[in-house]
C-alpha cells in the first residue's frame, strides 16, 4: 500500500515535472521568438526615428509595459539624444534627457531594476539596460505603471535585445552619413552641372558677362566679354577686379547694382572705359547675390560713334545748307534792288552765284535722299551697256567747270574699251564724286588723272590726285556714313556722305572700291567693276 501510494505520488510528481518542464520550454521558445522578432524589427528599421518608434513599441508589447525608451549620448558625455520613446508625453520625454538615473545607467555596464519611481513619472517598475556602441553609449528603459516586477527571464530578454540596438544604431547612422555624403555629392555635381550649363549658355550670349565674387575676385569672364574688351579670360580670372580691369573703381562707381534679377529693372549706365588698347563705351548693369555680383555689359561704342556722327552731320548739313542759301539770298536781294543799276557783268556774276549755289543745294539734297534709299533698300539699279570712257570724260568736264585753273584734269584710257553693263547714272555719280573729292582736296596746283584699265574680270577705274592725302588710320573709315577726316572738317566743306554713297553704289554694281594714299602724297581711289554684274 505504501509502495502503491509512493508509486502514485511519484507518478504525479513526474507529471507535475513534465508540465513544469513543458511550460519552461514554451516560455523559452516564446522568449526566443520575441527576441528574434525584436531583432528583425531592429534590423529592418530604415531610420533612427523608425528604429526608435518600432523598437520601443515592440518592447512595450513584449514586456506588457506602458513605457519604453532609448536614450544615447557620445562616449565620454555630450548631448543626449532620445532615439525613441513610447507611452511618454512630450514633457516626460524632455525630462528623460536630464534624468539622473538614466545618466547613472549610461555610465555603468549593469542592467538596473528600480521598484520606485526614479523618473518621477509615476512608474512602479523600471528596468534600465545600458549598451555601448563604437561612437555612442545608451540606455534602454522599460517601465510598468503596475506593480508586477520584471522577472529574470524578462531581464535576460531585454539584455539580449539591447545588444542588437547598438549595432542597428551604428548601421543606421553610417547609412545616414553615407546618404548625406551621397546627397552632398549629388548636390555638388548638380550644382557643377548647372554652372557648366550656365557657363555654356553664357558662351553664346552676345553681352559680356563677368562675375566678381564677394572677395572682389573675377570668377567668370565669358567669350563676349573677351570679344568686346579684347582681354582673354585667362588674363583676368582669379585676379582682383581692380587689377584685372584698370580703372575699375571709377567705372564701378557709375554702375547701379540691383539686389536681385527679379527686382525692378535698373537702367544700365552707359560709361566710357579705356580697357587695354580699346576706347569703349559700355552699357553696364550689375546684380548682386550671396556670393558676389554679376555684371553684364554691351558694347555701345559703335552706337555712340553713330550718335556723334549724326550730331556732326546735322551740324555739317546745317552749315552746308546755310552757306548756299545765304549766297542765293544775298545775290537775289542784290538783284532785286531798284535803286541800283547793275553793270551787265556783275548781274551775270550774281545770277551765276544763284545758279551754282542752287546746284550745290540740289546735290546735297540728292545725296541725302540717295543715302536714305540705300539704307531702306529701295535703291534700284538699271542694267545698261555703258561706255565708261565717255562717262569718265563727262565727269572730268563736270569737275573742270568748278576746278581752279591751276589744276590739270586728264583722262587716260585705251582707245578701245569694252562697254560695262551697269547703271549709267549711278556710275556717273560715283565718278563725279571721286573727281569732285580729288578737286576739293587738291589745294593749289596739281594733276588729277582718271585712268581706265581693262582687267581680266572687268574694268578698273583709278582717280588719282596729288592733294593732301589721307592718313593711314583714316583710310577705312572715310567710307563710313557721315565720317569726315577730323583735320579736314573745318577746311573743306562736305557732308561725309559722298564716299559712303560711292561705296554703297559700287557694291550694288558688284564691284569694289578702295583707296591708296599717304599724307601729302595724294590719293588714288580705285573702283573695280565686273563687265556685267552677276544675275540676281
Amino acid at each position: 500500500m505504501r509502495k502503491e501510494t509512493a508509486t502514485i505520488a511519484s507518478s504525479s510528481l513526474h507529471s507535475v515535472h513534465r508540465v513544469d518542464r513543458r511550460d519552461e520550454l514554451l516560455r523559452r521558445f516564446v522568449e526566443a521568438t520575441r527576441r528574434a522578432q525584436i531583432v528583425t524589427i531592429v534590423n529592418t528599421a530604415a531610420s533612427e526615428a523608425e528604429l526608435g518608434e518600432l523598437f520601443t513599441a515592440e518592447l512595450c508589447e513584449a514586456f506588457e509595459a506602458e513605457i519604453a525608451f532609448v536614450l544615447t549620448e557620445p562616449h565620454g558625455g555630450g548631448v543626449r539624444t532620445l532615439v525613441g520613446a513610447y507611452g511618454l508625453t512630450a514633457d516626460q520625454r524632455a525630462g528623460l534627457l536630464e534624468d539622473e538615473s538614466c545618466a547613472h545607467t549610461l555610465s555603468s555596464e549593469e542592467i538596473r531594476l528600480h521598484h520606485d519611481d526614479p523618473l518621477s513619472i509615476g512608474v512602479r517598475q523600471l528596468v534600465l539596460a545600458p549598451f555601448a556602441g563604437k561612437v555612442d553609449r545608451g540606455v534602454v528603459g522599460v517601465a510598468r505603471l503596475y506593480e508586477e516586477r520584471f522577472d529574470e527571464g524578462e531581464v535576460a530578454l531585454l539584455e539580449a535585445v539591447v545588444e542588437s540596438i547598438s549595432h542597428a544604431l551604428e548601421r543606421i547612422r553610417l547609412g545616414e552619413e553615407r546618404d548625406a555624403l551621397f546627397a552632398r555629392e549629388h548636390a555638388a555635381r548638380r550644382e557643377a552641372e548647372e554652372r557648366g550649363q550656365a557657363a555654356l549658355v553664357l558662351g553664346y550670349v552676345a553681352d559680356g558677362v563677368f562675375l566678381v565674387d564677394s572677395n572682389g575676385t573675377v570668377q567668370l569672364w565669358n567669350p563676349a566679354a573677351e570679344a568686346i574688351t579684347g582681354i582673354s579670360a585667362e588674363a583676368v580670372l582669379g585676379l582682383p577686379v581692380e587689377q584685372a580691369l584698370p580703372g575699375w573703381d571709377s567705372l564701378a562707381a557709375g554702375v547701379t547694382i540691383a539686389s536681385s534679377p527679379a527686382a525692378s529693372p535698373v537702367p544700365a549706365a552707359t560709361l566710357h572705359a579705356e580697357i587695354g588698347e580699346r576706347d569703349l563705351w559700355l552699357s553696364v548693369a550689375g546684380v548682386s547675390f550671396a556670393d558676389g555680383t554679376v555684371y553684364a555689359f554691351r558694347d555701345r561704342t559703335e552706337e555712340r560713334r553713330l550718335e556723334e556722327l549724326k550730331t556732326d552731320f546735322i551740324s555739317t548739313v546745317s552749315h552746308e545748307l546755310r552757306t548756299p542759301i545765304a549766297a542765293v539770298h544775298g545775290a537775289a536781294q542784290t538783284l532785286a534792288r531798284d535803286d541800283v543799276v547793275f553793270p551787265d557783268d556783275l548781274r551775270r556774276r550774281l545770277l551765276s552765284v544763284i545758279s551754282d549755289q542752287s546746284e550745290r543745294l540740289a546735290h546735297l539734297v540728292n545725296d541725302i535722299l540717295l543715302t536714305s534709299q540705300v539704307e531702306s533698300g529701295r535703291l534700284a539699279l538699271a542694267r545698261q551697256q555703258v561706255d565708261v570712257s565717255e562717262l569718265a570724260r563727262s565727269a572730268i568736264e563736270a569737275g573742270r567747270a568748278h576746278a581752279p585753273a591751276e589744276l590739270t584734269l586728264k583722262l587716260v584710257a585705251p582707245k578701245s574699251l569694252a562697254p560695262v553693263t551697269t547703271d549709267r547714272d549711278k556710275l556717273r555719280q560715283v565718278l563725279v564724286n571721286l573727281v569732285g573729292n580729288a578737286i576739293k582736296y587738291s589745294p593749289g596746283s596739281g594733276r588729277i588723272e582718271v585712268r581706265l584699265e581693262p582687267r581680266e574680270s572687268g574694268l578698273r577705274i583709278a582717280v588719282r590726285d596729288e592733294g593732301v592725302g589721307i592718313p593711314q588710320s583714316e583710310q577705312q573709315r572715310i567710307f563710313e556714313k557721315f565720317y569726315r577726316v577730323p583735320e579736314m572738317i573745318n577746311s573743306v566743306s562736305g557732308t561725309g556722305l559722298g564716299l559712303y554713297i560711292c561705296r554703297e553704289l559700287v557694291r550694288r554694281m558688284g564691284g569694289n572700291i578702295w583707296v591708296e594714299s599717304g599724307e601729302e602724297k595724294g590719293s588714288t581711289f580705285f573702283v573695280e567693276l565686273p563687265l556685267a554684274p552677276a544675275s540676281t
Binding site: F29, Q37, A57, E64, A65, A68
Partner: protein, 391 residues
C-alpha cells in the same frame, strides 16, 4: 417596443435601456433616460447595423434631449435579458458625469486615433478623476491596431482603453447627432469613483506554437517555412479536406491564431480569409519571427472568460458597479438562439452584481481593451467596463 425587466429601479448615475422594432433606438434611449431618472449629459447607443444609421441618429437625438450622443453599430445587442439580433441598447449618464467626445476620419488610422483621443480628453481632468477612453472604430477602413496606438500616444498608460469596431450590415459610428462612416469616435468618461476594465477570451492553443517565417503586412505567407494555410489547416485537423472559401472562413471564425505572451496568455488574432498561394489574411499585421498558436474556442472557456472579464473589471471597484458596458466579439459564439450565447450572457449578468447594474453592450468586429501594457487591439475578446458606484 421595450424589452422586459431592463429598467433599473434604484437611483443612480447611469441608466440603461434596450428595445427592438422600428423605434428601437428612440425607445432604448428613452428607457435609459427614464431609468436614470434625470436629464442625462451623455448617452451611448449601440444599435444593430440593420437599422438605418441616419434614422438611428435622429431617434437618439430626439430621445436624449440636450444630452450628447455617441456610439456605434454592432452585429447584435447585448441586454440583461440576452442577445438581440435587431434593436438597440443604450446607456444614459447623469449630467454630472464629466466626459468628452472626439471624432476623426480614419484614413490615417494612427493620426485618427491621436486626433479623436486628444479631442475627447481635452476637457477631462486626468489627474483628479478616474478616466476611461472608449473607442468606437471601423476595422475595415484601416489597421485597428494603428488607431489604438494613436489613441494610446495621447491617453498614456494611466487611462484604460475599451471599445471596439462597428459591425452589422451598415457599419457606422455616432457622434453628436449624426452617423459617421470609416471614422474614429472617442469618448472619455471621468468619475470620482473607480472605473474597472476587464478583458478575457476563450481561446485555447492547439499543440505547439509555429513561427512566422514570412509575412507581408496583414498577410501571413509562411508558418514554419511552409504555406501558412497548410500549416493552419493541419493543426486543426483539416489538412486533407478540400474547402470552399466560405467553408474556410466559417472554420477560421472558430479557430483564431494567437500570439503567445511571455506570461503565458495568448493574444487571439482573427483570420479573415486566405490568399491564393497559401497566405492567411489576418486582422492585424504579425511580423516575421513571431510565434503564433492555432487556437480553438471551447464553449466552457467562452462562458468562463465572460465571468473572468466581469470579475477583473469589478475587482478595481470599491463597491458595486453603477453601470457596465460590454463589447463582445461577434465570433465568440453563435449568438442567436444558441444556448452557448445565452449561457455566456447569463453568466456575465449574474456576475455583474445583484441587483444588476445598468448594462448595455454590443457585438463587435474587433475589440479594444487595454489595462496593462501599451497594446489594446484585440480579437475574440470580451471587454467589460464597470463604473463604480458612490453607494
Amino acid at each position: 417596443m421595450a424589452t422586459p425587466d431592463l429598467v433599473r429601479t434604484r437611483e443612480c448615475l447611469a441608466g440603461a435601456g434596450a428595445a427592438t422594432g422600428v423605434r428601437a433606438t428612440f425607445d432604448a434611449v428613452q428607457e435609459a433616460v427614464e431609468a436614470l431618472g434625470r436629464d442625462p449629459g451623455l448617452v451611448l447607443i449601440f444599435p444593430t447595423g440593420d437599422l438605418d444609421p441616419q434614422e438611428t441618429a435622429i431617434q437618439a437625438h430626439a430621445a436624449s434631449g440636450e444630452a450628447r450622443v455617441a456610439g456605434m453599430t454592432g452585429t447584435g445587442v447585448i441586454t440583461p435579458g440576452g442577445a438581440i439580433e435587431s434593436g438597440c441598447s443604450a446607456v444614459a449618464f447623469d449630467a454630472s458625469v464629466p466626459f468628452g467626445i472626439g471624432t476623426a476620419a480614419s484614413a490615417d488610422p494612427r493620426a485618427a486615433g491621436r486626433t479623436a483621443a486628444a479631442e475627447a480628453l481635452v476637457d477631462v481632468d486626468r489627474e483628479e478623476s478616474h478616466v476611461v477612453l472608449l473607442l468606437f472604430v471601423d476595422s475595415e477602413s484601416g489597421d485597428q491596431a494603428e488607431i489604438v496606438d494613436g489613441a494610446y500616444e495621447i491617453a498614456g498608460g494611466r487611462i484604460p482603453l475599451a471599445g471596439g469596431a462597428a459591425g452589422g450590415e451598415t457599419r457606422a459610428q455616432f457622434a453628436d447627432g449624426r452617423p459617421l462612416a470609416g471614422s474614429v469616435v472617442a469618448v472619455a468618461i471621468a468619475s470620482q469613483q473607480p472605473i474597472g476594465v476587464g478583458i478575457s477570451h476563450g481561446c485555447v492553443p492547439l499543440g505547439t506554437p509555429s513561427i512566422v517565417t514570412r509575412s507581408h503586412g496583414r498577410v501571413l505567407l509562411q508558418l514554419d517555412g511552409r504555406p501558412a494555410e497548410s500549416v493552419y489547416l493541419e493543426k486543426i485537423g483539416m489538412g486533407d479536406v478540400p474547402l470552399s472559401d466560405e467553408e474556410f472562413e466559417a472554420i477560421a471564425m472558430a479557430h483564431p491564431l494567437a500570439q503567445p505572451e511571455l506570461r503565458g496568455d495568448v493574444r487571439p488574432r482573427y483570420v479573415r480569409g486566405r490568399m491564393p498561394g497559401g497566405g492567411l489574411v489576418c486582422a492585424t499585421s504579425i511580423e516575421a519571427n513571431a510565434a503564433v498558436d492555432v487556437c480553438e474556442q471551447k464553449p466552457e472557456a467562452i462562458v468562463r472568460s465572460g465571468v473572468d472579464a466581469v470579475d477583473e473589471a469589478l475587482v478595481h471597484l470599491s463597491g458595486p458597479a453603477e453601470a457596465v458596458l460590454l463589447f463582445d466579439c461577434a465570433a465568440r459564439s453563435a449568438r442567436f438562439g444558441n444556448p452557448l450565447a445565452a449561457r455566456e450572457i447569463e453568466s456575465i449578468i449574474s456576475s455583474a452584481g445583484d441587483p444588476p447594474p445598468a448594462i448595455a453592450g454590443t457585438y463587435t468586429r474587433g475589440e479594444i481593451g487595454r489595462i496593462r501594457g501599451a497594446k489594446g487591439d484585440r480579437n475574440y475578446s470580451l471587454i467589460v467596463v464597470a463604473f463604480g458606484s458612490s453607494g
